[in-house]
């Protein structure tokens, strides 16, 4: 008889693995990716493919150079590449995603020890660096080639126009709703913006899948979004309680950021209470930047700032230990 395996308990493990979780995130992003291609055309697909490939290759090369095992099969680089592409305007030159992915993987992720050790969301950190280095490329939007209901937008082409996003309109001309695209087109997709954030509907579909698979919990997205809703409504342009919370929820990168970016495991708190604090913090910073800051959008910076605070939040939100008041022992 072969010797019996002797190891300490437990002797069974759940089926969930790191790779399966990352794959789930990729699956959840597919509807929004498809929406991006539908609204912005083949160039959107090209940007996503380039971004993912360069993320995976960067990971492999860096790990080879650092003489670490190559772990590209865990899907995490694919997630980062796709997330970065989602945060780019559809008009960027094709070398930009290559540079962005290299920054995300080499600088933000691997330099700090790889998966689980990056203290910032790699895709968002890369986006922030790209925005600082190439502000024009990063804020040149294109009109979508399709309208929300499928009508072909004859006037539009993939030609770059530096026109305003709904959030910019909201910021400049809040209250005059005629200037804003109709709400349903913001939700379904087809307004100007980054590749992946155009269709909230597709993003929410994926988010529902992630919640159902328990890859993410409701804590960060729910507290993030409701804080933004509350603050943008209360601190309205015409005095208290006049803000347009609904537009704020569905415009820009809030849905993408709240469900897919702020929930990044490595850079968010691990304690349930900490996650709620993270969401509320993100919500406050996003609202302040959107309402009073120099940029129309604040989701990226709010998440990055809260990423930095996450270890501290963890430390102060340790769960209550069972039996802190003790009856026996």
């Amino acid at each position: 008889m072969e010797p019996l395996i002797v190891s300490s308990s437990p002797h069974v493990y759940s089926k969930d693995t790191t790779a399966r979780i990352m794959l789930d995130v990729v699956l959840a992003l597919l509807p929004a990716a498809a929406a991006g291609v539908y609204f912005f055309g083949g160039r959107a697909a090209l940007i996503m493919v380039i971004s993912v490939l360069s993320a995976v290759m960067t990971e492999a090369i860096v790990q080879k150079l650092m003489k670490k095992p190559v772990t590209i099969s865990d899907w995490s680089a694919v997630v980062t590449g796709l997330m970065l592409a989602f945060n780019l305007p559809p008009t960027v030159p094709l070398w930009l995603p290559v540079v962005g992915s290299a920054i995300a993987i080499a600088l933000v992720k691997q330099a700090f020890g790889g998966l689980g050790h990056n203290f910032m969301n790699p895709a968002l950190a890369a986006r922030a660096i790209l925005l600082a280095a190439w502000p024009v490329y990063m804020t040149t939007w294109a009109d979508p080639i399709h309208g929300a209901m499928g009508a072909v937008n004859a006037a539009a082409s993939a030609d770059a126009v530096s026109s305003a996003t709904p959030l910019a309109i909201l910021k400049g001309l809040e209250g005059t709703q005629e200037q804003l695209p109709p709400l349903w087109s913001i939700i379904v997709g087809g307004t100007r913006g980054c590749l992946g954030e155009t269709s909230d509907l597709a993003l929410l579909l994926g988010a529902a899948y992630l919640l159902w698979r328990r890859v993410i919990s409701w804590r960060i997205p729910f507290s993030f979004i409701s804080t933004v809703a509350l603050l943008t409504w209360v601190l309205g342009p015409q005095g208290l309680f006049t803000g347009n919370a609904i537009y704020h929820i569905f415009s820009g990168g809030l849905i993408l950021g709240a469900f897919y970016m702020a929930t990044d495991y490595s850079s968010s708190p691990v304690t349930p209470k900490g996650q709620i604090i993270m969401g509320i913090g993100c919500g406050i910073i996003t609202s302040i930047i959107r309402l009073y800051g120099g940029y129309p959008e604040g989701v990226t910076y709010s998440i990055l700032l809260m990423n930095v605070a996450a270890p501290l939040i963890d430390r102060f939100t340790m769960p209550r230990i069972y039996g802190e008041v003790r009856a026996d022992v």
Partner: protein
């Protein structure tokens, strides 16, 4: 049923895998030719043997006497002749001294095991009876029941909880006991309530065992102050602290499940490792090999043999270990089932924090422990870990969480012991 369902914080939901045995009536296994009865059945000091090689013993005769208070006597599970007293493999302690008895197949009972009437017994008598009977709790440590029933005078006990939550996957022995002999279980509760002088008694059962809940609910009607509590099906619902919290919302010492003298209800179940998974009533001292043979033998090569359940059970290095009082089941896993996954880096997903029923942060305790920084492990309450294994089970990166917390606990205990000695 209009019963409220109770739960606790944290926990995991492993697949039950009870299909193999949950509807199988308990069978009495034929007593083997030889039984090996370890003199140490549980935590506490080992017993002194009361017999020597060549002695004839009767079924139920006391053969080992405990030295300390935290100890329970050991009895012969067959009648026959003592062959030798020697070291044998022990399911929990590696090795241990055991009385080896050659079974004469007569089952001649010892005078001490005549059935007694519960109503006519006084409290002291009852307690002595439990002590003499050597009844132990089925928790991993097999804590002697009479110790739990002798609380210090200054602790007022008002509630007894009988633990019918069998949360470990695969195991169904308690379940069957409750379905088939509900009266015995209720009598056990009655006895404990009487010894402790309490008015309130609960039998806690998980809500995935409706047949057991029905059977016990009927039987319990005859006992004033006692009732059935339904629990959510979740691991580790059967862990003492979690159970108490779920039932009463507070912490009280609880009673264990009493058992018959000299036998335990034993469960042998598995997906692939054993030909006919069964619930067996097994004599204490029967080797795992004999039990597995009674279940039709092994299917193919066993890769791992576990005493207890898959979450907290102890992997055995040989099939020659005997069944002891605390053996709640024998689990044989095939190579595929026994595969220990390769650990990857922690992805900080927080699942272990959410799963820990004690409210600990396994990822950090473990990270410190693996670095040898036990001070920080201790600061994060490593000593409160009940070693339920939820964290390791749930971890997608398959980190050795409870394994490293266990190491930390050992080191911390050792340090404290040394500090106390100085």
């Amino acid at each position: 049923m209009g019963l409220k369902v109770f739960g606790f914080k944290g926990g995991v939901h492993p697949l039950h895998r009870k299909e193999g045995t949950q509807d199988k009536a308990v069978e009495r296994m034929q007593a083997p030719k030889l039984v090996y009865i370890p003199l140490q059945q549980h935590i506490g000091a080992p017993c002194e043997p009361l017999v020597k090689p060549g002695d004839r013993v009767k079924l139920g005769q006391k053969i080992g006497q405990p030295k300390g208070f935290v100890g329970a006597p050991v009895h012969a599970s067959v009648s026959g002749v003592v062959k030798e007293i020697r070291q044998v493999p022990h399911p929990a302690m590696g090795q241990g001294l055991a009385v080896v008895i050659e079974n004469d197949g007569m089952d001649e009972p010892d005078e001490s095991i005549a059935p007694k009437n519960l109503e006519s017994l006084g409290v002291e008598e009852l307690r002595d009876l439990i002590l003499e009977a050597g009844i132990v709790g089925m928790g991993g440590a097999a804590f002697p029941t009479h110790v739990k029933l002798s609380p210090p005078k200054d602790r007022k006990i008002d509630t007894v909880i009988l633990n019918g939550a069998e949360c470990e996957p695969y195991l169904t022995a308690d379940h069957r006991l409750m379905v088939e002999n509900p009266q015995d279980v209720v009598d056990g509760l009655k006895a404990i309530m009487k010894v402790l002088g309490v008015e309130r008694g609960y039998i806690a059962i998980e809500d995935n065992k409706p047949d057991a809940i029905r059977a016990i609910s009927d039987a319990v009607k005859s006992v004033p102050g006692a009732k059935v509590v339904q629990l959510k099906t979740k691991y580790p619902q059967g862990a003492e602290k979690q159970l108490i919290y779920a039932v009463t919302g507070r912490q009280v010492p609880s009673g264990g499940l009493p058992m018959d003298v000299g036998v335990v209800v034993n469960n042998v179940g598995t997906g692939g490792g054993v030909a006919q998974p069964k619930n067996l009533l097994v004599r204490i001292g029967t080797t795992f090999r004999d039990v597995i043979d009674a279940c039709g033998g092994l299917v193919g090569q066993p890769a791992k043999v576990i005493s207890g359940g898959p979450m907290m059970g102890i992997a055995q290095y040989t099939l020659d270990v005997p069944v002891i009082k605390g053996t709640s089941g024998i689990l044989v896993l095939t190579k595929q089932e026994a595969e220990t996954p390769e650990p990857g880096p922690c992805i900080r997903c927080g699942r272990c924090v959410e799963a820990c029923p004690m409210g600990l942060m396994p990822l950090f305790i473990s990270a410190y422990a693996l670095k040898g920084d036990y001070d920080n492990s201790e600061r994060l309450h490593a000593m409160d870990c009940i070693e339920c294994g939820c964290c390791s089970y749930i971890c997608p990166a398959k980190r050795p969480l409870v394994q490293s917390v266990r190491t930390a606990k050992r080191v911390i205990t050792e340090r404290r012991r040394r500090a106390a000695a100085n």
